[in-house]
Symmetry: C2
Subunit: 356 residues, 2 copies
């Protein structure tokens, strides 16, 4: 239903960013890249959770040296995060990374930048450039307003374009959500390069999720954004889980179980929080790729309606649970049995879906 | 920075919704309203957490009877949630509630609706009407698309307008975020009544927060929405905390401590998650009304920049922590002491702010 803005597509080791490709989900390893085993283990965890692309930090020569082995073992394309050294960028390209995250402004010397861009072009490796409010050259661009961030990123883009390089992804990160939204909206009017969305340094899981969902979610809802990374001060697997849920909420990803549950409310006649949590825990083993909606309701106002609209639903109250599936009321069971009964029907419906 | 859509203002017991009033934050009690002590206790908890308005369920006569005593003890205006009985609505108005949440369609009889609307007008009590996808009259409106939800709500609005009643707030709730966004965007073009935002049955805290922040956050970022309720299957205090954080993220509320913290990242040289959590815990006693930004960074790329931009900041790495305040680097302490040092400076800055 979201009309996505049309961008040119870049190819990151077989995963498209932009064009008609689905919004790609990224995270970044917290391991030292030179620790190959730890890095591969974390890449696998991220891929398993749903990451399409994983970024690794390459601050030192030994990290670049580890790339070939990591690349061989990784199930997903890799992005090398390079900041100051053009030699590390060249090494990473040579080592087989699928994309670079680079700040040409940090490399400074035009000849060195040219060398990196040419090597990336020869290997057909996209480069993400972009501004980050925290590292903006304020002497040149002033206070990190949306316009300053956009201009700084455009200047980096122009350095690459001057070399005839167009496999570009742009990011415009800030901690400030209104500034970030404004910056991406402006940039999306100016260029057709795919955009990498993120709210930088968003913080611990609770506040970071709120900040990222408002910022990234708004842009995605407006059709802006081709790849996202949710920044949380947490295990990066949490970034992928939250990012995936955000994409599902916007129908930008399909599949998996969605639990619809009543809010806290004085109308509820069962302990909804405990019931919904029990249902969630009891369904966590189901890894279906097909979309399945499960409703847990405790209200005579919206309950039966929502339960009926779900693939499988429970409307509890008055000591009993009504079970619904496929829009039909199936049976009525005592409250003590309603979670068991709901789970049984979910498992049945999933099994039937798998047979289709 | 967000340009809010201009709406007419209604007055809910001294709290404005719409017009130039700040976006009002609501939640709903989970208590049985006839249990006065439990209800007042929860209202106090919600008000303490930041609720501007609290809704209570009034499904039975004994609940309506409890309203006068609750109203007397409540520090915030109260909304009575009425669904089927016009007599309960009349009782609640008589008992002194500050607003009604009503579905005229459920009351059906035009004479009974007229009676309620006239009583509300005489007492100058606003009424929230609106559609909820889960209880939409699908025989009449069809599948709950954005247009169906908007039309259903407009029909309720017209019932009130026909009585010359205009103290109206409108909600258009659905579990589907794209549908909800589309419905509110359409409605905001059609009427100037203030809008109550919510994503219904959003679910358990983790997924419900993601769903609500994307849905409500997008609308608020577009300037739409005059009051919000975040629906979580949780203690309603969690709804208020998350809703308040969402408003702060969009600069629709100011004040309080905001922690900026690095994401998980292979560049980090300290355990950022543990450090940021320790800082959050150590600062939780500070209840400042003034905005204060605290940065916890572990990165030489964005760290010092962000730490410098914060009111008080820490950039850790290499066994030491650099402490910043007011844009200046203050001192360098061993890693083991950096949280203590940061907290000390935050307390100092807060004390200085209080003196101003």
């Amino acid at each position: 239903m979201i009309q996505r803005r049309k961008t040119r597509m870049v190819n990151v080791g077989g995963v498209g960013i932009g064009g008609d490709a689905p919004v790609a989900l990224q995270s970044m390893c917290t391991t030292k890249t030179h620790d190959v085993d730890a890095t591969v283990r974390q890449i696998n965890q991220l891929a398993e959770a749903g990451a399409d692309i994983v970024r690794i930090a390459v601050p030192h020569h030994e990290d670049a040296q580890a790339i070939p082995e990591i690349r061989k073992q990784s199930p997903v394309p890799l992005v090398a995060d390079i900041h100051f050294s053009h030699l590390l960028a060249l090494e990473a390209i040579e080592a087989g990374v699928d994309k670079l995250r680079l700040n040409p402004g940090n490399i400074r010397d035009p000849n060195k930048i040219r060398e990196v861009v040419r090597a990336a072009r020869d290997r057909m490796i996209p480069i993400r450039v972009g501004a980050n409010a925290g590292s903006l050259d304020t002497a040149r661009y002033g206070h990190p307003t949306a316009d300053a961030i956009v201009q700084s990123a455009l200047d980096e883009v122009h350095i690459l374009e001057d070399e005839g390089f167009h496999d570009i992804v742009i990011s415009l990160k800030s901690f400030e959500v209104p500034v970030t939204i404004e910056a991406y909206r402006k940039m999306s009017e100016l260029v057709d390069y795919p955009l990498h969305l993120g709210i930088t340094e968003a913080g611990l899981p609770w506040e970071g999720t709120i900040r990222s969902c408002v910022g990234i979610g708004t842009l995605l809802a407006l059709g802006i954004g081709d790849t996202i990374r949710m920044s949380l001060t947490a295990d990066p697997v949490e970034e992928i889980k939250a990012g995936l849920e955000m994409l599902r909420v916007l129908d930008l990803r399909q599949g998996g179980i969605t639990i619809v549950a009543c809010p806290s409310c004085g109308r509820a006649d069962i302990d909804l929080h405990a019931t919904a949590q029990a249902v969630k825990a009891r369904l966590s083993h189901i890894k279906t790729k097909k979309p399945l909606r499960v409703a847990v309701m405790g209200c005579v106002v919206n309950g039966p309606g929502e339960a009926r609209m779900a693939d499988v639903g429970l409307a509890g109250g008055g000591g009993v649970g009504l079970i619904f599936a496929g829009g039909e009321s199936l049976n009525k069971v005592p409250e003590a049995d309603m979670v068991d009964e709901l789970v049984k029907h979910v498992e049945r419906v999933v099994a039937e879906q798998e047979e289709d």
